[in-house]
C-alpha cells in the first residue's frame, strides 16, 4: 500500500486541522463534538479545491517528467560525444599503427 493512503497515526493532528485554530478555536471544539459540518457553499468550494489540487499535481508531475527527460537527454548527448571522441581517437591510432606496419612490411627498395 502506498504510504500516501495509509491511515494517519491515532491522535495525530493534521496540519489543516491545526490551521483551523487560526480561524476559530470555537469551531475546532464544535467540529470535535459534532463532526465536520459544511454549508452547501463550503461543499462546492471543497470540490473546486480538490479539482484544482488534482490539476496542480498533474502539472507538477508533467514538469518533473519533463525535467527528468531533459536530464536524461543531456546525459545521453554527453555520453554520445564521449563515445564519438573515443572512437575518433581509436581510429586515428589504428590508422597510424596500420600505416607504420605497412611501411615496415614493405620490401626494401619499393617506394611508398
Amino acid at each position: 500500500m502506498n504510504r500516501k493512503h495509509l491511515p494517519r497515526p491515532q491522535d495525530a493532528v493534521s496540519a489543516s486541522e491545526l490551521a483551523e485554530m487560526g480561524v476559530c478555536e470555537r469551531r475546532v471544539l464544535l467540529a470535535q463534538r459534532h463532526g465536520h459540518w459544511r454549508t452547501t457553499a463550503q461543499q462546492r468550494a471543497m470540490r473546486r479545491g480538490l479539482d484544482a489540487h488534482a490539476r496542480f499535481h498533474r502539472d507538477g508531475l508533467a514538469a518533473r517528467e519533463a525535467s527528468g527527460r531533459r536530464r536524461r537527454w543531456i546525459s545521453l548527448t554527453s555520453w554520445g560525444r564521449w563515445v564519438l571522441d573515443i572512437c575518433s581517437r581509436l581510429a586515428w591510432t589504428l590508422s597510424k599503427l596500420f600505416v607504420g606496419t605497412a611501411d615496415r612490411l614493405r620490401p626494401p627498395g619499393e617506394g611508398p
Binding site: 497515526p9 495525530a12 493534521s14 485554530m21 480561524v23 459534532h34 479545491g49 484544482a52 499535481h57
Partner: protein, 184 residues
C-alpha cells in the same frame, strides 16, 4: 531515376522525419517544464521540485500528520514549501502560516533538511488566476504550543477563543448551534 538516387532520397526523407519528431518532442517537454516554472513564485524559478502531495508524520515533540502540496529545493539547499488554496479573494491568512509551519516541523524532523522560515501560498481565484503570497512561518515552539492548546480545548480544559473576524461566523456551518456566536 537510378536505384542509388532513390535510396538517397529515402534516407534524406527519413532523416527529415526523425529530425522533425525530435524537435516536436523537445518542444513538448520544454513547454511542460516552462508552464510549471511560470506558475512558481519568482524566488523559486530555478529551484528543483522535490516533493509533491507527500505525507510526513511525526510523533515527537507532538503527534502531527501533514501532507504538503509541493516543496522546492533551492540551489543553496534550502527547502521552500508551497501550498495551493482556492479562494474567492487572493490573500493569505493566519491559518496558512500555521499549516505551512506544521509542515515545516514535520519535514525537518523527518528528513533533517533545512526548511526556509517562509513559504508560499498560491491562491487560485474562481477565474482560474493563480497568485503567490509569501508567508512568514511561526517557530517550532509556537506550533507545539498550538497543538497542546488544541488538545486542551478539545479535552475541555480551557475555553476556546472567538473567531478573529465576525465574517467567519457569517459563513460558519455551526452558526445555528454555536453558543459563542459573535453578536449574540
Amino acid at each position: 531515376m537510378t536505384a542509388t538516387s532513390c535510396a538517397a532520397w529515402a534516407l534524406i526523407t527519413l532523416a527529415f522525419a526523425l529530425g522533425t519528431a525530435a524537435v516536436l518532442w523537445c518542444r513538448r517537454v520544454a513547454l511542460a517544464d516552462c508552464a510549471e516554472r511560470a506558475g512558481r513564485p519568482r524566488d523559486l524559478t530555478d529551484a528543483e521540485l522535490i516533493y509533491m502531495e507527500k505525507r510526513f508524520d511525526v510523533t515527537e515533540p507532538v503527534r502531527l500528520s501533514t501532507r504538503l502540496d509541493r516543496a522546492y529545493r533551492k540551489r543553496s539547499g534550502l527547502v521552500v514549501l508551497v501550498e495551493l488554496k482556492t479562494r474567492a479573494v487572493s490573500r493569505a491568512f493566519a491559518s496558512d502560516e500555521i499549516q505551512l509551519s506544521a509542515q515545516k516541523l514535520a519535514l525537518e524532523r523527518t528528513t533533517r533538511q533545512v526548511v526556509a522560515n517562509h513559504g508560499y501560498v498560491i491562491v487560485q481565484t474562481p477565474d482560474g488566476v493563480r497568485e503567490a503570497h509569501r508567508v512568514q512561518l511561526i517557530s517550532e515552539e509556537a506550533v507545539v504550543a498550538l497543538v497542546r492548546r488544541r488538545a486542551a480545548i478539545v479535552a475541555g480544559l480551557i475555553s476556546p477563543r472567538p473567531a478573529a473576524s465576525a465574517k467567519v461566523c457569517g459563513t460558519c456551518a455551526y452558526q445555528t448551534i454555536c453558543p459563542y456566536r459573535r453578536g449574540r
